[in-house]
Symmetry: C2
Subunit: 276 residues, 2 copies
């Protein structure tokens, strides 16, 4: 196979398997090419991705070495995307009763989910995440998008029992919007004991649901890689959670004046784009 | 930019935007290259994808022409994947009470979702699908995976009212597993009137839930591009629906003997892999 064909196939192969170490001999065999040729191919790939700031090809040296594709969105891309997203969220037709904001169009748009997934996967690329966790229903799209770019499984906690998932572990948490104790659960077989878990959700008001997921992770003897939400309502009362990242922060919703103010959240400040 | 670099970037760019027509002048400008060079690049890309049988680069001639990347999984890949998937589903530890099967690991595995998404997107590549529809909760991962490869939005019907989605349209349907009338609903703004909709779900017993989604599509003056499920329980009583595709067919579940029999469903027979 010629270099030009190898480059097309290699790009596709690596993009489909983020964070997976591929040994050079694998490619050498796949293309019937010398390892030195493969090394040159990979140098071209690495250089091209780097100059676009939208992906990183990581080289691992040594006998057990190879290359690994790390989905990555550079700082300028990230700033522009979150600024655009905030403007779109300021559309007053999104205002719903109870201080909620309609986000289902964004959470159902595959191009938005690609950007959001790449972005959050950039922040947690080197946190050794074993699984992404969310709670039904609207966080699922977000969890799946991030899991795709970290190439790890995602699991969905439920707020009510489902007959189709077998034995579960359940926890209680304070549902802040209702100021009462609620229950959430996860099938025992869904998560390996001791996993490092990234907790995500679409919308955060008081943060009660996120604390519920933190409790669940503890019940599985796991550790928390981070907590990240698409949108936080910053005007809301005290938070039940401290360490979290938000892509977008909504500082005001005025139902009468049909006004909604949104801006990029703390995600950009808390992400070290230069480490790539 | 050199050809080798152009090929890497072009492959990535096209893969990220399936089913989107990209005009040649766009690439010519992006790379500062002559249109004739871009045409040669695209010929290499097309040839490489075709020989792997896992993607198609479609060329559209004329003034408004360009190229379009169509995610595609060739017949041999498809047969192998569905045969493997069926074997994995036969694992007796998946059997749950009530004739259900634990599939959440598959529906939370990003590599499985990639294959499943590519496969179903292959079948409906030329059906002019405007949106993918599912019903909460476990169908969401499937809908998102397919929507990604068709590059269309996906929408989620709910079985109960959510405060965070505004006005909804609701329908009644016969929930076959419960033999009673249930309700499902979709936000009015979630789906454009007159859309052509692909209906999907993770697991089908009697098909009642699928008929509910068909009713919803009608309420939005839409048409149905197709109905496709990951798994159907073939041993179950009469179906409430006729025209549907299934990737995997479960013909027997014996809870006492801890036995589950699965095989590829009618999807392979109903897909014309040669048209690509």
């Amino acid at each position: 196979m010629k270099r030009s064909e190898r480059l097309v196939d290699m790009t596709k192969y690596l993009m489909e398997r983020p964070h997976t170490l591929i040994a050079l001999p694998f490619f050498a065999k796949r293309y019937g090419a010398a390892k030195s040729s493969i090394s040159e191919d990979l140098a071209i790939l690495k250089h091209t991705l780097a100059s676009n700031q939208d992906g990183v090809l990581e080289t691992v040296a040594g006998a057990a070495g190879g290359v690994r594709y790390i989905p990555f969105l550079g700082q300028k891309h990230a700033e522009k995307y979150l600024s655009d997203l905030s403007s779109r969220i300021e559309d007053p037709s999104r205002i719903l009763a109870g201080g909620f904001v309609y986000l289902s169009d964004i959470l159902g748009d595959t191009q938005d989910l690609r950007r959001i997934g790449e972005l959050i996967a950039t922040r947690y690329a080197y946190e050794d995440v074993d699984a992404v966790m969310t709670v039904e229903t609207k966080g699922i799209a977000l969890a799946q998008a991030i899991a795709r770019y970290l190439n790890v499984p995602f699991v969905t906690a439920r707020k009510r029992s489902k007959v189709t998932e077998g034995a579960t572990v359940s926890v209680n948490y304070i549902s802040s919007s209702l100021s009462r104790v609620s229950k959430m659960e996860l099938p025992t077989r869904a998560l390996k004991k001791g996993s490092k878990v990234l907790i995500v959700d679409d919308f955060m008001k008081g943060g009660g649901t996120l604390t519920g997921m933190e409790e669940l992770v503890k019940e599985f003897d796991g550790t928390i890689a981070g907590v990240c939400v698409l949108c936080e309502a910053d005007f809301d009362k005290e938070k039940l959670i401290n360490n979290y990242l938000s892509l977008v922060k909504i500082s005001k919703i005025d139902t009468e004046k049909k006004l909604i103010l949104a801006e990029p959240g703390n995600f950009l400040d808390e992400t070290d784009f230069d480490r790539f």
